[in-house]
């Protein structure tokens, strides 16, 4: 990516390393390959939607409906598969992503047409999509017994396995969709005209329009892309938990927004890095999955995670201010 790693990301890396060292000192059991594999697996779903959200946020918008889209897409496609007995993983992904694209386009059309803040629109569609699903499709939960076999295979699948002290552990196949999402996002943002358009309308829509970009078309693309990734994530999620619930995922979107913002994406648009978003997601997962390691009891959960997140954001924003001052930019 960039030749020189920017201070923002360097700071995040330092926080990750320092925190990991701290946990290792408290509990040497943290320092092993299994930890890496576990974090890759548990953070994979968030990584995928974080990529979609990143693109939306760079374009100057925001999407808080992606979890509802993920749920709608995965629930509907798997519901069809359960009812008809189709046992094909590609079918699950294609249907779920197609639904995601359609719902994303609805978001984009509403935003462009109504000229309302994307936050309000997507907050509304989040409830709308979820409501449509539970009302018109189904609101039953399905256990592992009735789900398509291929889904469980995918969820439990590993690229390779390593023996551990008392069993074995493997690198999850869920890494593949994450890589696809990451590479596609990189390609779009860096190598295509539409990617330049996304950054341009995020910085200033009017200037972008005068430069010849069509903000409406770009917005259509951006929300459809976010929807497609959400649909993909939904299937990965269902495969990992090996159960289908009509009410999961929705409600967790702000954690993803936080992760992307921690990764240095400007909430006003025009700026954001894939690597930053990845680091942001990693930090939130690292914090959430090491409490047992350092021996904190459950009642500490929120206090601890909240405190570290605030500190991380404070440090990174301080860095940003120092950098801006150096360049004689005074934003506050």
């Amino acid at each position: 990516m960039t030749k020189k790693i920017d201070p923002f990301q360097r700071m995040l890396l330092i926080i990750i390393v320092v925190y990991s060292v701290f946990v290792t000192i408290k509990n040497p059991g943290f320092f092993q390959i299994q930890t890496v594999f576990d974090i890759i697996k548990t953070s994979s779903t968030t990584m995928i939607v974080a990529m979609g959200l990143l693109v939306v946020m760079i374009s100057g918008g925001i999407d808080v409906s992606f979890m509802a889209i993920a749920l709608f897409g995965s629930y509907t496609s798997l519901y069809i598969m359960i009812q008809t007995g189709i046992n094909n993983l590609a079918f699950a992904f294609v249907v779920s992503m197609a639904i995601g694209i359609v719902l994303g386009l609805i978001n984009a059309v509403l935003i462009s047409w109504l000229k309302l803040p994307p936050f309000i629109i997507t907050l509304g569609t989040q409830n709308l999509f979820h409501g449509i699903m539970t009302t018109f499709i189904s609101d039953k939960s399905f256990g592992s017994g009735v789900l398509p076999e291929c889904l469980h295979k995918f969820g439990q699948g590993t690229l390779f396995k390593v023996a551990t002290a008392n069993g074995s552990t493997g690198l999850t196949v869920s890494l593949i969709p994450v890589l696809i999402a990451g590479l596609a996002t990189y390609f779009i943002l860096r190598k295509t005209m539409i990617g330049r358009g996304i950054v341009a309308i995020g910085n200033d829509e009017e200037s972008a329009r005068r430069a010849g970009f069509n903000p409406f078309k770009i917005r259509l693309f951006v929300y459809a892309y976010s929807g497609a990734l959400a649909g993909m994530m939904g299937i990965v999620y269902a495969a990992q938990v090996n159960a289908l619930y009509p009410n999961k995922m929705v409600g967790d979107e702000l954690m993803v927004v936080a992760a992307v913002v921690i990764g240095g994406t400007k909430i006003t648009g025009g700026q954001g890095k894939i690597f930053g978003a990845v680091l942001g997601v990693l930090i939130t997962y690292l914090l959430n999955s090491t409490l047992i390691m350092i021996g904190l009891s459950s009642s500490w959960n929120n206090l601890f995670v909240g405190a570290i997140l605030v500190i991380a954001v404070a440090i990174t924003s301080y860095q940003e201010r120092v950098k801006n001052r150096k360049h004689l930019i005074f934003t506050e």
Binding site: T35, L114, G131, G143, S144, G145, I292, M293
Partner: protein, 362 residues
């Protein structure tokens, strides 16, 4: 201009869906509007109690009872089928309200709605019992009967709390099953849905103290239970962490019905069946794990029967017939409840193994 108007209309509509989304689907069946005046004189039972019997008789069709469950999942789906059955059996005007999210706030807003509608009785399975007390008091001041399930701790604030069994006994059953599966020795960890979930905590405490007293070779790895947040994903992620922090762990018990997540985590590490799992379980969600051996035992009570019994008890109280020691709540395991203060205990624990799991289809 036209666009502006449209945008206002649409945003209002959207805001409305937000509100409606968490709201109610009350079915005003027209049948309950006709309250025959004759009935008032025939039934004398009404004046014998303090309940809000107004001037209705004992005809179940005259009473509107609403069950507010914790959230939408297969457990409460089954409870809803039990309540459907009650409606069919007795003609009681009973329905179920499902909160969008599993927290106290959404239950409170549903209850506020029901108070405004002036229903006869509210049954509720509280997510956080103490948080609901002010709303429950408000409902009772409005003359509405409130019956809880899974909340013996706030029994003084309600008309009746219906329990499937004495919680300590059920917790000890968890402990006994886990000890048997683990051969009476080794490290174990306990999960609950959340630290504020009263019944989960009661089972957890009873199980831990039972194990401490009877199996000195078994050791609990943490002082507090771990929270799975009532989600399979939560149970899975926490189990992975526990496995790393305590590689010599030999058993898990989960007081929330998410033991499947622990089994998934064990299978990923090739530990399925080696590390024992005893969990609160629903046949539809746990059958595969019981059959492949990664879950040793599933414990349960029938949500359908509990919902049936709670709503029937609510009707008995609302109609002035009252509930006393030995009252028959018409559901399996609740044929003769034992009343302790405001808590009515049934005797309805269910135990699943690989052999009997197929006998249950909820």
């Amino acid at each position: 201009m036209k666009k502006k108007f449209l945008s206002v209309v649409l945003s209002v509509a959207m805001a409305a869906t937000l509100l409606v989304g968490c709201g109610s689907t009350s079915d005003n069946s027209s049948s309950d509007t006709q309250t025959p005046a004759a009935e008032e004189s025939t039934d004398a039972a009404a004046d014998s109690t303090d309940a809000a019997a107004d001037n209705k008789g004992a005809d179940p069709a005259d009473y509107k009872v609403v069950m507010v469950v914790k959230q939408s999942d297969s457990w409460f789906d089954d409870m809803a089928t039990g309540i459907e059955q009650l409606k069919k059996d007795t003609g009681l005007n009973v329905s179920v309200q499902v909160p969008e999210t599993g927290d106290a706030a959404s239950q409170i807003s549903i209850m506020e709605d029901l108070i405004a509608q002036d229903v006869d009785a509210i049954c509720v399975v509280p997510n956080d019992p103490n948080a609901l007390v002010p709303t429950i008091e408000k409902a009772r001041e409005a003359g509405i009967v409130v019956v809880t399930h899974e909340a013996p701790g706030i029994a003084d604030s309600v008309d009746l709390d219906v329990e499937a069994f004495v919680n300590e006994t059920f917790g000890e059953l968890f402990a006994e099953k886990l000890a048997t599966a683990m051969g009476g020795k080794g490290k174990y960890a306990g999960f609950v849905g959340g630290l504020t979930m009263e019944t989960h905590m009661a089972w957890y405490d009873a199980a831990v103290s039972y194990l401490k007293a009877n199996y000195p070779d078994m050791e609990n790895v943490a002082e507090e239970p771990y929270e799975d947040g009532n989600s399979v994903e939560g149970a899975h992620d926490k189990a992975l962490e526990v496995l790393k922090a305590y590689p010599d762990i030999a058993g898990f018990f989960d007081c929330s019905a998410q033991g499947g997540g622990i089994c998934e985590a064990l299978q990923e590490n090739d530990l399925g069946g080696t590390v024992k799992v005893v969990s609160l379980a629903l046949p539809s969600m746990s059958a595969t794990y019981l059959k492949d051996g990664s879950m040793a035992n599933g414990l349960c009570w029938r949500p359908a029967d509990a919902g049936y019994a709670a709503c029937y008890a609510a009707y008995l109280i609302a109609s002035g017939q009252g509930v006393s020691d030995g009252t028959d709540l018409k559901a399996t395991g609740y044929e003769s409840i034992s009343l302790d203060g405001n808590v009515g205990y049934g005797n309805a624990p269910l135990e699943f193994t690989a052999d009997n799991i197929d006998d249950y289809n909820f």
